[in-house]
Structure formats: C-alpha cells, structure tokens
Amino acid sequence: MFARQSVARLAAQQAHRHGAAPQNARNMATLREIELRLKSVRNIEKITKSMKMIASTKLAKAQRAMIAGKQYGIANSEIFDHTPSETPAKRKLFIVVSSDKGLCGGIHSSVSKATRRAIADTENPVDADSPIMVIGDKSKAQLARALGKNLTLTFNQIGRDIPTFADAAGVADLIVKSGVEYDSIALVYNKFVSAISYEAGIVEVANENTFKESPGFRAYEMEDDVTKDLAEFSLANAIYAALVEAHACEQSARRNAMDNASKNAKDMIGTLTMQYNRGRQAAITNELVDIITGASAL
C-alpha cells in the first residue's frame, strides 16, 4: 500500500517536474514574446494617435477649402442645368479622383469600384473601351489591374496639400491637349457627406460639341471660340471642386481609420498586459512551488 502510494507520488512528482521544466521554459519564452509584442503595439498606438491628430488639423483646413471650392462647382453646374443635352452621351471619358497616399480607409477602392460599376452598367450603357484618366497613384494601381486597357492618362503629386486651381487647370489642359475623343466627361470622386462618412459620386461635365448642340445654349448666342474656352474652363472648375472635396474626404477617412487603429491598439495592449501579468504570476508561482517542494523534501 505504501509502495503504491509512494510510486504514485513519485510518478506525480515526475510528471510535475517533467511538465514543470518545459512548461516553465515555454512560459518564459512566451513571456518574452508577449513583452516584445506589447512594446511594438505600444509604439503603433503612439504612431496612429499622432497620425490621427495630424489628420484632424488637416481636416479642419481641408473642410474650409472645400466649402470655398464648392462654390466654383455650383456656379459651373448652373450652365449645365440650363443646357441639358438631348441625346445621351455615347462616349464618356471617366476622370477618377483619388490620391497618392494610403492609410485612409476605403477611399481609393470606393472610387475605383464606382468606376467599374459605371462601366459595367447595363441601364446607361457606355462603351467598353471608354477612356479613363486617373488622378492619384492608389486608384491607378487598382484600375490598372481591372481596366488597364482603358487607361489613357494618369496624374500624381496632387493631394499632398490642399489642391490648388493650378493643379486643376494643369489637369484640364493636359486632358484637352491629349486629343482623346469624348461626348461628355464623368467625374468620379468621393462626396463629403459628413466628418465620418463619404460616398462615391459621379458628376457629368459637358463637352464643347454637346454645348453647341443643346438648344438651351443657343439662346446665349456665343461664338465658337468662346464656347470652346468656356468648355475648357468649366472642365477645370469641375475638376477643382472635385479635387478639393475628395481631399477633405481623404483627411476625414484617414482620421477615422487612425482613430479605429488607436482604439484597436489600446484593446490589444489591455489584453496583452493581462496575459503578460498572468504569465508572470504563473511563472513566479511555479518557482515558489518548486522551492517549497524542494525544501520540504530535505
């Protein structure tokens, strides 16, 4: 009976010791891993928090610029409201407005998806080879994969700071100079719904020929040269309004994305700290048990 008991105790002790050493070692190893993870997640939280601060201040400035710039777009669209075109545009040129920088949520993919939907639309069909021009490297990469054959011209280095009218005029100038044929232009950009939400929208800009054919426009009795100037200038106006609004959307999306990232990082820090403390206390307890059993065996 005693032999059985002592064998059982020996076996238990052996198991405990066999379990203890590698378990202790495993705990120690995971403790170090948890410590490293904790340090890196803390750094990430600092970075995302500072990015959120920066994006908030940029958002305030961008919103002011957007309110001012939208007036250009509204004044522009007044002409189009008075001169609706009779025939639906067959050949549309898509101008996609996004930016070069990432870490801003779903801004770029929302605009790219809207473009792909518009091209695949069956209600208002457009040519499958409609030309596409992209402002911004991120959407350019996405669309080059999906609709690479349609790309004609791409622009970048816009959106680092508040977009200026010089940017928009340069873009419009290059579009007209490129000699691409189109009946009308569809400007795809993110509309600013609120500081926490945006949605992709399409705005149509008319071509010079569409102007001339529209009956409402003939009431203005303008010369051809001036009509061409007006079409080019209104294109630059529309692009400016879209650029400025898309910039504000991007800042707000980046602020929200960094805010979510900071919250997630904080949660992770909480759970990791718990794990770390539990592991530390378990290691200490195991060591104590070893010492005590060792002492009691003496």
Binding site: L151, N156, Q157, T164, D167, D173, E232
Partner: protein, 71 residues
C-alpha cells in the same frame, strides 16, 4: 485684338500664364499669399494598351529667380 493664342495652347494654359504674370506683379505681402495658391507639382504619365509611359513633370524645375515686385 486678334487672339492668336487659341491655336497654340488651351484657355486654361492661357489663364495660368496671365495669372502668373499678375502674381509676379503684386506687392511683396500679397505676392506671397498668391504664390501659395499657384503652386502645382503635377506629374503625368501617358498610357498605351495597359502599359504606362514615362512620368513627366508639367512644370519642369527651372531656375527660381525671385520675381521683381512692384516698388
């Protein structure tokens, strides 16, 4: 005055040239504010058949000589 620029460049380019002239003729204080509104570092790239060409600057880097403000 016959407008001979129409055959050479677009209205937007014409507007930007005249804007640059106006900016360079402003007094120092106002000129600094206006210069900021005229800054553009635009780069563009032509695409053929899904392959992009070279990236070119719209305004290649020129010697920046300080504009002469009006006295």
């Amino acid at each position: 005055m016959s407008t001979t620029w129409r055959g050479v460049f677009t209205y937007n380019k014409y507007a930007q040239i005249t804007a640059r002239a106006v900016r360079q003729s402003m007094k120092e204080m106002e000129r600094l504010g206006a210069e900021r509104r005229g800054v553009t570092a635009l780069r563009y790239q032509k695409w053929e058949n899904g392959v992009g060409g070279n990236q070119e600057y719209l305004n290649p880097e020129e010697d920046k000589a300080p504009g002469k403000p009006c006295v």
